[in-house]
Symmetry: C2
Subunit: 335 residues, 2 copies
């Protein structure tokens, strides 16, 4: 950098400022530097840069399981937003295990990130560790909330979305049963169950909940196995099933097909199946899945913007913010 300073005719501290934030120097000098850069292609040492800086230009993004298309999608949106803002996103997956989540936060801490976007496991997460992390680093949660952790939470309003779906299903046919995992780690599942109970009560229908055994993240498999078993045994008292998420629904649709059960809302159909999340593949199931679309883009944008706001203000938010976006009913053929 010393070298580049002499050949470019700019002092080293000014260059230092420039590389930290190109807009912090006068426009004319900035142009001079950029001219010189094109000729001598010098690039500052990332490690030396960040060593003495309290905060870097890194933004951590932690998701519980990257192989779940929902998180790949939202991760992608968030990553691109960060790049556009001139930051370096670092996308970390917790690979479905709690240890990795904790490890990821530990790794991030030593990277002195300017901020972190975290989609935690939820109940299973190490709440204390996450709260402590939030004290040191600007932290915004998304998808799954943990009370009092981080500066803000952005997610979907499960009560609105489930109510929307239940209402639609009741109006257009038999009231739905709920199909879900027995021990969901994700708090959204619990909210959705409660929302289902509320909605059914409000509509004056009896609620029926069916829970699938199984651990892990192979939701399609579980939906197919357990859901298929229930279909075969005809345990469902109505012909309409609301699955707690699309991945379970995809599995159940597959099982229904295998059993020769025609799914859909047509006259020739035996039952209806609906999901929640508008999984990228739900458009291509057979039949295409009626579901609730989470507002990926808004969630990603709001999460990033909130994080930037906290980062720029250099102080904590006066009050923790919780933003819930409404879900949108996506009517396809399955229900």
């Amino acid at each position: 950098m010393e070298e580049f300073a002499s050949v470019s005719g700019i002092s080293r501290p000014t260059l230092s400022k420039f590389f930290n934030d190109p807009d912090s120097v006068r426009r004319t000098t900035r142009q001079r530097i950029e001219m010189a850069l094109e000729q001598h292609d010098y690039r500052p040492n990332v490690y030396a840069m960040n060593q003495n800086r309290r905060k870097t230009k890194n933004i951590g993004i932690v998701v519980p399981f990257l192989a779940d298309p929902f998180f790949t999608e939202i991760g992608r949106a968030v990553e691109l937003a960060c790049i556009d803002a001139g930051y370096s996103p670092i996308l970390l997956s917790s690979h479905g295990s709690l240890e990795h989540e904790t490890d990821n936060l530990e790794s991030l801490r030593s990277l002195k990130p300017a901020g972190v976007l975290l989609a935690p496991f939820g109940r299973a997460s190490d709440k204390d560790a996450i709260c402590a992390f939030g004290k040191d680093v600007p932290l915004v949660l998304f998808d799954a909330n943990i009370e009092d952790a981080g500066e803000a939470f952005i997610g979907t309003n499960n009560f609105q979305s489930i109510d929307l779906m239940v209402d639609y299903l009741c109006r257009s046919g038999e009231p739905p049963c709920l199909f879900e995992m027995k021990s969901p780690s994700n708090p959204n599942a619990n909210k959705r169950r409660q929302a289902y109970l509320d909605s059914m009560a409000r509509q004056g229908h009896e609620a029926h909940i069916f829970q699938a055994d199984g651990e892990g993240w192979n939701f399609e498999e579980i939906g197919s196995q357990e859901g298929g078993r229930m279909l075969a045994e005809k345990v469902f008292p109505t012909n309409t099933i609301l699955c707690s998420n699309d991945r379970l629904a995809i599995g159940m649709l597959s099982a229904a097909y295998g059993l020769g059960i025609r799914v859909g809302h047509g006259a020739d159909c035996a039952m209806r199946i609906a999901g929640h999340d508008d999984h990228p593949f739900s458009r291509f199931t057979c039949p295409p899945l009626t579901t609730i679309a989470q507002d990926y883009t808004s969630i990603a944008d709001r999460a990033v913007n909130t994080l930037f706001r906290v980062m720029e203000s250099e102080e904590r938010l006066s009050a923790r913010e919780e933003t819930l976006f409404d879900g949108r009913l996506v009517m396809r053929d399955s229900a």
Copy 2:
């Protein structure tokens, strides 16, 4: 670290060695250090550590499009392998755009990674940039090959796998047509087309190739739209279609369902559809997709091991290695 050295009774250079590689110090001192670590929980500054090191403990992993489940899966396998080996994987997606691929390599270069695993776009990639990168950093390619770039390439033997599938399809019914993208960026698509032509010639059947218009990575959408149009227009001369990859097949299956065409190898079925890759969702299509399983695990393991071999040898491989794993026929109901 100076501090930790005094309280632990270990000299700083020894600690330095320890943090670089715990096995490089005597076992007794290593235990003393680990004891002290538990009491004083000191952690070296990542940036200061890496500033003066030629190589870091980082390993870059670059995939063209993380939202494609194939790459999420293989990325996951590779990531975990790196973690197990004590390295820090950095997973980067090129988000389907060439500029990001180049940017990703540039970012990685300044992170002084110990090695990089790259799944390039293929033909579209900046070959010179990748070759140049390979001169500076141990580089192993996977999935898509670029001649002479990096130390090795690990992928699937498309000629074997397609031949396996064509042979199966011919034996069990009508010979297949090939359905693919018109202008595939991935070199595997070209290999598969050639393999299809070869196999059909060998079997003494006439080859029929149908190409879908469309750009980008929305293969399911393209398969559904274009494939559906072709199905509706009955352009296929046989009742069996081999799709160049599972994502196209998933789209086409969806379209077939919408058209009321019964897909499968049963007596009551009108046509057969097969894919290639054993996409994570192919087990749950309707009907479940007959396809070729790429050996994810072997590819990931071999790629990582090869990279480590190059990294440890501190020199280039005497000859560039190309390893192709055989595909495995996965017979499900669709064909």
